[in-house]
Symmetry: C2
Subunit: 322 residues, 2 copies
C-alpha cells in the first residue's frame, strides 16, 4: 500500500483514508511505511484545534457533531471527525455505527469522518488516534473533533490528545449530578447541556445552574474555569456560543503559553504508551523470547506458576538473551 | 511494614488492610515483601465468588451494594467490597467517597470495604485490584464485590477479574437503551434495573422488557443468556432473585468446566499487564537506560524528536546496554 505524502498534503481524501488504514494496520510490513509517512507529515501537522467531545450514550453526540461540524464549515473551516468507541472491546465493533448517523456532515466536501473502533487495547482509545490526528491535519483539516463514549478512562485518554475537552450532558436534576461531577469536571473545559428544547428546555436551564454551582465549588483550573452552556443539536441552536467559548479558551491558553505546553506533555504520554507497546513487540519478534513467553503463558494456564514470579523469570531472560 | 500471612489467614482485618496497603505501595522496598506475601497466600485464595458491579453514576451502586451485601451476610456469607473508581484519574481521588456511603455494611463484622482509587494508570482500574482480591479471599471472605463506574474500558477490565459481571441500570425507555446495549451486553451476565419502586416501578418493568428484547436479539453466550431483573436497593427488594441468578450461573459454568477456564484466562491477562509494568520498571531501574529515557523525554519536550523514532532509538539501547 504505497501512499504519497504529497497527495495527503494536497488534501486528497482517498490518500488520507488509505493512510489511516495503513497506520492502523497490525501487519509488520506496514509498520515502517506508516512510521516514515508519519515522520514526513508531522512537520506539517499540529495546525488544527483538537476538540474532544464526550458524553454517555443517549446524550445525542452524533446529532451534536453533525450540527457543530456544519456550523464550523459555514464559518469557513474544514472539519475531520475521529469517532472513537471504547465501549465494545470484545467484538472490536463500534456501537457508533457508520457515517449514516452524520449524514449531512459526511456528505460535505469540507468534512472527513473516520470511525476508529477500539481493538480492546489497554488504551481503551484506538491505539492510533494520535497518529490519525496528525494525518488529518496534514490533509489540511483545521478542526479535529475526537469523539468518545462513556465516563472514565477513555475520556481521560482522549483528553490527553486534544486541546479542548467538551462534555455533552442531558438535562437532569439533583441526584444524577452528584456522582458524575468530580471526574468530568477535572478533564472538561466546557460542559454543554444538549436537548435544551421543547419540554426539556426548563430542565436544561436548571441543570446548567446546578453544574455552574458545582463548578464554582470544585473547579481547580485557575486560568480557565470550566463553563456550562446549553444547546439544541436537533435545531442547531447554541453552536455559535460553544465555538466562541472554544476560541476564548485558545486565546487565553496561547497568551499563557499553555497551549504548546499542553501539547508537549501530550507527546510525552504518547511516547510512554508507544514505548510499552514496542517493548512487548520486541519480545514477540525474538524467537527465543517468544517461545519463553508462550511457555510461561502455558504454565500459568496450568496453574503451575504464580503470575508475579513468572513475570520476574521471563524478564530476567528478556534482558540476557536479547 | 511486616505482615504475617498467618494473621491474614486467621481473618485479622487490620493485617488485611495493612497487606492491601503494602501491595498498593509504589516503594521499591515494599515490592518483594508484597510479592512474597502474595505467593504465600495465593494457594489459600480463589475460594470466593467474584462479582463485578457496575453502572453509571446516579444508578444507586452504593445503596445496592449495601443492600446486597447485608443480604449475603444474612445468608451466612462474609463479604469484601473493592470499590474501584476510574473516573477521577487526575487527582487519583475517589468520587465514591468513603465508607460512610455504605454505613451499615461497613460496620458489619462480616464485611470489609476497601476503596481503591485509580492512580491514573493505563489500566483504568487500580493496578492492584487483582492482588487485593487474593488477599481478601485469603482472609476468609467468600464473596468479593468489585465495584466500578462508567461505560467502557474500566468495565472491561473488571470483567477480566471477576466470575460474574452485574450491571445496574436506571429505569429508562427508548432512546437511552440504544447506545448502551452492545458494549454492556457483551460483558454483563446480569442486568439489574434498580429504583424499581414508587413512581418508577412501571418504567422499570418497561425497561426490563426492552432489555430482554434487546438481549434476545444480541446475546452471544450460548451456555448463559444474560438475564434482566429489577430491584429496589432502597427497600432491599429483589436481592434474593439476584443471588439465585448468580448461583445458577455458577452451577452451569462449573458443570461446563467454564468457571476455572475463565479464571485461567484471567490469570493470563494479569500476566500481560504485570509484564508491561515491569518492563518499564526495568528501564527506570537501570541508571544508563534511565538517563537515556530522561534525555529522550527532554528531546520530545523540545520538539527535537519525532515520537515513534525516539521510541525505536531508546529500544535499541534497552536491548544492548542491559
Amino acid at each position: 500500500m504505497k501512499i504519497n505524502a504529497k497527495d495527503i498534503l494536497e488534501g486528497n481524501i482517498r490518500s488520507l483514508a488509505k493512510a489511516i488504514t495503513l497506520i492502523e494496520s497490525k501487519k509488520n510490513e506496514h509498520k515502517d511505511a506508516a512510521s516514515n509517512l508519519l515522520e514526513e507529515l508531522t512537520p506539517h501537522s499540529g495546525k488544527s484545534i483538537r476538540i474532544g467531545i464526550s458524553g454517555v450514550p443517549g446524550v445525542g453526540k452524533s446529532t451534536f457533531i453533525e450540527a457543530f461540524g456544519l456550523f464550523l464549515i459555514s464559518q469557513g473551516h474544514r472539519v475531520s471527525v475521529l469517532a472513537v468507541d471504547p465501549s465494545s472491546p470484545i467484538s472490536g465493533g463500534s456501537i457508533l455505527g457508520d457515517k449514516t448517523r452524520m449524514e449531512k456532515l459526511s456528505q460535505n466536501e469540507n468534512a472527513y469522518i473516520r470511525p476508529t473502533p477500539t481493538d480492546g487495547s489497554l488504551g481503551g482509545v484506538s491505539k492510533r488516534t494520535k497518529e490519525a490526528i496528525i494525518l488529518c491535519e496534514s490533509a489540511g483539516f483545521d478542526i479535529t473533533l475526537v469523539e468518545t463514549v462513556g465516563v472514565g478512562q477513555s475520556e481521560y485518554e482522549v483528553s490527553n490528545m486534544v486541546d479542548f475537552f467538551l462534555v455533552l450532558m442531558v438535562p437532569s436534576a439533583g441526584d444524577e449530578l452528584q456522582g458524575i461531577k468530580k471526574g468530568i469536571i477535572e478533564i472538561s473545559d466546557l460542559l454543554v447541556i444538549n436537548k435544551a428544547d421543547g419540554d426539556l428546555l426548563n430542565l436544561a436551564k436548571i441543570s446548567q445552574q446546578g453544574y455552574e454551582n458545582a463548578l464554582h465549588i470544585m473547579s481547580k483550573k485557575s486560568e480557565w474555569v470550566t463553563k456550562v452552556l446549553t444547546c439544541s443539536a436537533l435545531h442547531s441552536e447554541g453552536m455559535e456560543e460553544i465555538w466562541k467559548s472554544i476560541k476564548e479558551f485558545q486565546d487565553i491558553q496561547k497568551k499563557n503559553k499553555l497551549w504548546d505546553e499542553k501539547r508537549k506533555q501530550q507527546n510525552l504520554k504518547w511516547f510512554e504508551s508507544l514505548l510499552t507497546e514496542n517493548l512487548l513487540q520486541h519480545i514477540q519478534s525474538n524467537p527465543v523470547l517468544d517461545l519463553e513467553l508462550k511457555k510461561t503463558k502455558q504454565n500459568i494456564l496450568n496453574h503451575q506458576s504464580f503470575v508475579p514470579i513468572a513475570v520476574k523469570a521471563l524478564l530476567s531472560k528478556v534482558f540476557t538473551d536479547s
